[in-house]
């Protein structure tokens, strides 16, 4: 048995912000229905690389796979009002939870906002996740997480001092909102169980992102300090950074947080003469001479593979790690042991590694257990078996391109 078996979720959602919420529920056994249409397939399918072998195809998207394993996929062409609107309401009435990430106002225009859906399902839980929230002067402004991460302050905090901000790969802030959105739904499910009441949840990805920066927001308010990027430096540790290793573009990190760690690091390095210099004798002097310190440490690490540095230092009780590449994370021994990846066969992609949750429920182990669905793969099954449409009704809706 999985932890969330029996929960029914419907997604009027695309890309990452909505569907990744649904994925976490699907991983734990909820029945999650991803709604798209042939007129407007999920943007990940339509125009967002990577595609298998760099050949575009609606069922060849790696990012769609990442966010949609264990779901049912149906099509519903919402442009075909009023039949499509009525069908959407029927689907919502079947569900416990609706997740949507259209730009604010869209669900209302389609006649399926929370007020409308509550009429057919009074205890419905609905999550609207958007860039800037459902209200306020900028609510209507749509955007992608890769840019919202800048408005919310994250890229200002990333880079070398005095240089350009650096990107945080992908829609960083979307996945912050995913954690908060899923948590909000789980709280609302508990509340419904106890009180019988549904809930409409409005999360602004912007506001969820700012939760992660609370101390430096307070620092500005109280002290007037504007936190900024400072490469890998940390006021409380020295050395603290990424250092070159043997091979092409191989790196390790290490960090020293106390005098006893510094002594142990010197021991591991074989107590080279420079390490006994007064310049490096205390945290304060190491901070003062940190550029030189970093060069010296880098000369030492250059003689080893990243894994060797990590193992030597960890054995001495000093924090250190390999800078894993996007290839390495598939073979990293710790992630492999968990195991973090589940290999499943996909008819058009072939072998695909699906991502397990970052938290493991020890008595109710999560999936992934099924590959992501092809576009419209479960139309028949969902509309007839789960929703209970008759053969004739179903055929008519297909012919009218409502189910399309």
């Amino acid at each position: 048995m999985k932890a969330l078996s029996g929960i029914k979720i419907v997604e009027f959602a695309a890309f990452a912000a909505g569907p990744a919420v649904g994925k976490h529920f699907a991983d734990h056994g909820a029945t999650v229905v991803h709604i798209e249409s042939r007129v407007r397939p999920d943007g990940f399918r339509a125009h967002y690389p990577p595609y298998k072998d760099n050949i575009h195809g609606l069922n060849r998207s790696g990012l769609f796979s990442l966010c949609n394993n264990d779901k049912l996929d149906i099509t519903l062409n919402l442009k075909k009002a009023p039949a499509a609107t009525a069908l959407a309401k029927k689907i919502a009435a079947w569900a416990d939870v609706v997740i949507e990430n259209f730009s604010p106002g869209t669900m209302a225009r389609l006649g399926i906002d929370y007020e409308a859906l509550k009429q057919v399902k009074p205890d419905l839980i609905m999550l609207s996740t958007s860039n800037l929230g459902q209200s306020g002067p900028h609510a209507h402004h749509a955007g992608f997480g890769s840019q919202l991460s800048s408005l919310a302050g994250f890229t200002h905090l990333t880079g070398y001092p005095g240089g350009s901000p650096q990107i945080l790969y992908g829609p960083y802030i979307d996945y912050i909102a995913v954690a908060y959105g899923a948590t909000a739904i789980l709280a609302a499910l508990d509340y419904r169980r106890r009180t019988g009441k549904g809930n409409y949840i409005d999360t602004a990805q912007y506001e969820t992102g700012l939760q992660y920066l609370a101390p430096i927001l307070l620092d500005y308010k109280v002290n007037g300090t504007i936190a900024s990027r400072d490469a890998n430096r940390d006021p409380r540790a020295a050395p603290h950074g990424a250092y070159p290793c043997k091979g092409d573009d191989n790196w390790c990190v290490l960090s020293v947080h106390s005098e006893s760690e510094w002594k142990r690091l010197c021991d591991v390095m074989g107590n080279p003469t420079w390490s006994a210099d007064q310049k490096f004798a205390t945290h304060a002097t190491r901070k003062k001479n940190e550029d030189e310190l970093d060069r010296k440490i880098g000369e030492w690490t250059s003689g080893f593979a990243p894994r060797e540095v990590m193992e030597k230092l960890q054995a001495a009780g000093i924090g250190a790690g390999v800078v894993n590449t996007m290839k390495d994370i598939y073979t990293d021994p710790q992630l492999a042991q968990r195991p973090q990846w589940v290999e499943l066969e996909h008819p058009e992609i072939g072998k695909m590694h699906y991502q397990r949750p970052p938290f493991l429920l020890t008595k109710t182990p999560p999936g992934p257990s099924k590959r992501d669905p092809l576009l419209a793969e479960h139309n028949d099954y969902f509309y007839k078996e789960l929703l209970g449409l008759s053969d004739a009704e179903y055929r008519r809706l297909v012919e009218e391109q409502v189910i399309y």
Binding site: A20, G43, H47, T203, L213, R229, P358, F359
Partner: protein, 420 residues
């Protein structure tokens, strides 16, 4: 709007015992934001993380850490020495009435105290133990030492950040702890759902390394599908075009930087068109940009040469405008893009004011109040907000121990013995 009665929160019936360090602070705070009764348990003398800056008025003091304020509000605080037998006895009594326990000890440590999951579940079979560590409870790294930078490195995040040829970067303000804390909250509530259906409690094993796989998560799929390794590309975006073209993300402007990307898709085409119109209104749009047929512009097929040619006049245009001007125009013209904001500009954004996001929290001990980022979501039925500021060291010892039926005198005695 803001209230101090957490009964308005969705999770008000539940109690959480929080034994975390900074790796797990946010988990308990999130449950607290939702109304749960969270008790932060610190060793006598206070948590070491109280030494983390920044500090109120820049005065390093365990009662003035803004790091503590930011991530431990919505918690009451007690001190308790788990390494003494009496301390463990008191803790066991708290466990008997708790719904959740959150902890960040090195795997195995609680077992050495006789407080591992098996022991805790004997006291309270329904309890959810959420164990948060850098790498998880088992495996070759499970006892490795890791602060933010090691987690960011081993999860692959750093390989994607920084200029090619220079050291990979982390985000300067530590991110891995908050990612981990928030995903841990999701895991804890999933286990809670199962417990409410079946009566069965369990341990939730959270790995920070695994949480951070989500942070930059699109990149690894390029390897899985096509054996292509995405790498750090400085301030450029890669992976949007199958020709390998990279797009500029950060553009210097009059007073800082802007985030603007030449995108494809419907929204991208609308943005590109709106930008050219805006440039043209200032006489800065070259003929070839004005003539461009955006309907057929395909980002997936675009070459580097074409991108470079488009970017040149845009560089000149953006150099002459301010962040505030850019923000105003992108909202008005419905373009994609945002300024690279610092905390200062975030406070100036009228969107937060309009949504009542900032919450003024009283700090009577400092004789002041401070504006905090408020709730993470708006619920139609139920509140999500800050109910109380972070606790002082041992602030609620008497309150909570008296709730357990322990007299004032006994608390005084326990204090003498160094247990609380």
């Amino acid at each position: 709007m803001s209230s101090t009665d957490r009964n308005a929160g969705l999770l008000s019936p539940y109690r959480v015992l929080d034994l975390t360090d900074e790796l797990g602070f946010l988990c308990g705070k999130i449950l607290g934001d939702l109304g749960a009764d969270v008790i932060k348990i610190e060793p006598p003398g206070g948590d070491l993380a109280r030494r983390l800056g920044p500090f109120y008025k820049n005065q390093p003091d365990p009662e003035k850490s803004l790091y503590w304020f930011g991530f431990n509000n919505n918690k009451r605080g007690i001190t308790l020495n788990l390494e003494s037998a009496n301390g463990r006895e008191l803790f066991s009594r708290l466990v008997a009435k708790a719904d959740f326990i959150i902890e960040t000890f090195t795997p195995g440590y609680l077992d050495t105290l006789g407080l591992g999951y098996d022991a805790l579940s004997r006291i309270n079979p329904r309890v959810i133990l959420t164990s948060i560590t850098p790498f998880g409870q088992t495996g070759p790294y499970c006892k490795f030492k890791a602060s933010d930078i090691e987690i960011m490195a081993l999860s692959g995040c750093m390989s994607l950040t920084g200029d090619p040829g220079r050291p990979p970067l982390r985000v300067t303000f530590p991110q891995s702890y908050v990612w981990t804390g928030s995903y841990a909250a999701m895991g804890a509530l999933m286990a809670h759902h199962h417990r409410e259906q079946t009566g069965e409690g369990q341990q939730v094993d959270v790995s920070a390394q695994a949480c951070l796989l989500w942070a930059f998560s699109h990149a690894h799929v390029f390897w899985d599908l096509n054996r292509h390794v995405e790498k750090r590309a400085g301030s450029f975006m890669t992976g949007r075009s199958i020709t390998g073209a990279k797009m500029r993300v950060f553009w210097p402007c009059k007073d800082g930087y802007l985030n603007f990307i030449i995108y494809g898709g419907e929204a991208g085409r609308r943005t590109n068109q709106a930008l050219v119109q805006w440039m043209d209104s200032k006489g800065m749009a070259p003929e070839f940009l004005k003539q461009k047929d955006w309907k057929t512009f395909d980002i997936a097929q675009v070459t580097q040469e074409e991108i470079d040619r488009m970017e040149e006049p845009i560089v000149q245009f953006f150099a002459g405008i301010t962040k505030a001007e850019f923000f105003k125009e992108v909202v008005k013209r419905e373009m994609l893009g945002y300024p690279v904001a610092s905390v200062k500009e975030i406070f100036a954004d009228p969107q937060h004011e309009a949504r009542g996001f900032w919450q003024k929290i009283e700090h009577p001990e400092l004789k002041t109040s401070i504006d905090y980022p408020g709730g993470f979501a708006k619920f139609s039925d139920g509140a999500c907000q800050i109910w109380r500021r972070a606790p002082l060291i041992g602030e609620h010892n008497e309150e909570i121990y008296s709730e357990m039926g322990i007299s004032k005198e006994e608390v005084t005695q326990l204090k003498k013995e160094g247990i609380v």
